[in-house]
């Protein structure tokens, strides 16, 4: 059964750096796992905390967020705001005894095509080893 598990992964990307990484990857013809769904936001700092929580409660097996490297943010501190929000969501999940390791935050720059592809593959493997998100299939939440 574990072999056939195809995780649903949401990959939220900053419109300036992360998405650029994906574009660079496509220019080089690189491959990333097909179960990763890319969701572009203008800045990861603009991503609401509820948007981080909702996929994990409503069907995704994992959520990964890519912001710009420190100092690279187009809006100065959007990536740091995102980092605070991720820390907040993770702390809440941890303190309620839920799995906060289904949420990742990583810096990926415009030119880092390899890093983007690796992140997608690494996260997919990570979620595969964890198995399906138990919250995603509950009908009583």
């Amino acid at each position: 059964m574990a072999e056939s598990f195809d995780p649903k992964i949401l990959y939220v990307m900053c419109g300036w750096c992360g998405t650029g990484g994906a574009e660079t990857a496509s220019a080089y013809g690189m491959y990333y796992p097909e179960n990763v769904r890319i969701f572009r936001v203008n800045c990861t700092g603009a991503l609401s905390t509820v948007h981080m929580l909702r996929p994990l409660l409503e069907g995704a097996d994992g959520l990964v967020i890519s912001g710009c490297h420190p100092g690279d943010c187009h809006y100065d501190d959007g990536n740091f705001m995102a980092r605070r929000k991720v820390a907040l969501v993770k702390t809440i999940l941890d303190s309620l005894g839920l799995d906060s390791d289904r949420l990742w935050f990583r810096y990926v720059a415009h030119g880092e095509a390899r890093r983007f592809v690796d992140t997608a593959a690494e996260f997919t493997d990570h979620i595969k080893s964890k198995g399906p998100n138990p919250l995603a299939t509950r009908s009583d939440t």
């Binding site: 905390t49 501190d77 605070r84 993770k90 839920l98 299939t137 939440t141």
Partner: protein, 368 residues
């Protein structure tokens, strides 16, 4: 150490007399305080008529709504020409300061009067026989520096019962001579200006006493006990579904929460108006849907939105019709978040809330 003024009146009488003199002397436009409603129960009121001050019950041991939230709606962002005098409990004051920091209201032109707080009884007990029967017991407890065993859960576990940011603090906890004497602690120039011309004996001392320390220790122990009872860290999905499974979706916890200030809540917005296609999809993927849907998302969504500013007033638990320990849960989660950002809501007026400004060098272990 702050200056003090001790007057020869009981605490409630002394505050009423002060409020009355502030109005009569033209120092304030009106006062905002708890006041009797039809001689039964209390509610917040804005009073200007000096005669009506007699109905004020500044320290009545109930909190019908968070005074901080009510006050914030009265003193919006536009400037007022003349000051208001305000009597709030420490947690209400913290909520108000938090709302000021979140740019929902203005702090200026307010004289904030607060007291060391012995907690309040749950709101439902207001209509449980004659509330006045409980009042003498409450005051006796205060004199002995003890909390009430039937006070709100959050009050029994509250460690912030000495007010921050008050212009004047009235000492109540552990003051054996409450019925004859009242001591005001002056924390600001505005507070000092209010007390000018009041009779009494001036002195200097600290609000913190042996009695307050004893009470703080007792409350720390009670808080630990409540946390252990809740098994917060090991709740997991089963635990959460067990707790929130009985939620009826009335949203009362949000309505009374002083920090939930949004006029349109995210969870009332169009994105949660589920179309038939959504239900069909849910039925496919989950084989069933709880109705009303997304209860856990609402509760956890509220946690991510307000828990970092949660002052632990306990209004949410008080109004929950199905007795979910909302306040204990939210304040425990809130405390974890507040520790993360080294933030005590409503304490330091100059410290920005965590989601206003992020720092370069922090949370460096978060990225993978």
């Amino acid at each position: 150490m702050p200056k003090t003024l001790t007057v020869n009146r009981g605490a409630s009488d002394a505050v009423r007399a002060l409020l009355r003199s502030l109005i009569e002397g033209g120092k304030v436009e009106g006062v905002f305080t708890l006041a009797r409603v039809n001689n039964k129960g209390v509610g917040y009121a804005l009073i200007r008529d000096p005669e009506k001050i007699e109905q004020a019950e500044p320290f009545y041991p109930w909190m019908p709504s968070s005074g901080g939230k009510q006050l914030s709606r009265l003193v919006s962002l536009s400037r007022r020409p003349r000051p208001l005098a305000v009597v709030l409990r420490p947690c209400e004051l913290r909520a108000f300061v938090e709302l000021v920091k979140l740019e929902q209201c203005r702090r200026d032109k307010l004289v904030l009067i607060s007291s060391t707080c012995g907690g309040v009884y749950p709101v439902e007990t207001l209509s449980d026989g004659n509330p006045d029967d409980r009042v003498p017991r409450y005051w006796n407890g205060l004199k002995a520096g003890e909390g009430q065993p039937d006070a709100r859960d959050s009050c029994r576990a509250c460690k912030h019962f000495i007010p921050y940011n008050a212009d004047l603090t009235v000492a109540l906890v552990g003051c054996g001579d409450l019925d004859e004497k009242c001591t005001f602690f002056v924390n600001s120039e505005a507070g000092q200006a209010c007390l000018e011309g009041q009779g009494g004996v001036w002195g200097q001392s600290a609000v913190e006493t042996e009695a307050t320390e004893k009470l703080a220790a007792a409350r720390d122990a009670e808080r630990e006990r409540q946390r252990e009872e809740l098994h917060l860290g090991s709740l997991g999905i089963e635990g959460l579904v067990g707790i929130f499974g009985k939620c009826v979706g009335c949203r009362s916890c949000r309505e009374v929460c002083p920090i939930c200030y949004c006029t349109l809540c995210d969870f009332d917005s169009a994105k949660y108006e589920n179309e038939p296609a959504w239900f069909a999809r849910e039925l496919n993927s989950r084989k069933g849907v709880r109705v009303p849907p997304a209860t856990l998302l609402f509760q956890m969504g509220r946690m991510v939105h307000m828990s970092v500013s949660c002052v632990g007033c306990g209004m949410c638990s008080d109004v929950c019709p199905v007795n979910i320990p909302v306040a204990t849960l939210f304040s425990s989660v809130g405390e974890a978040n507040q520790k993360l950002f080294d933030y005590v809501p409503g304490k330091d007026e100059s410290q920005k809330p965590p989601f206003v400004k992020a720092e370069l060098n922090e949370l460096e272990n978060l990225t993978v």
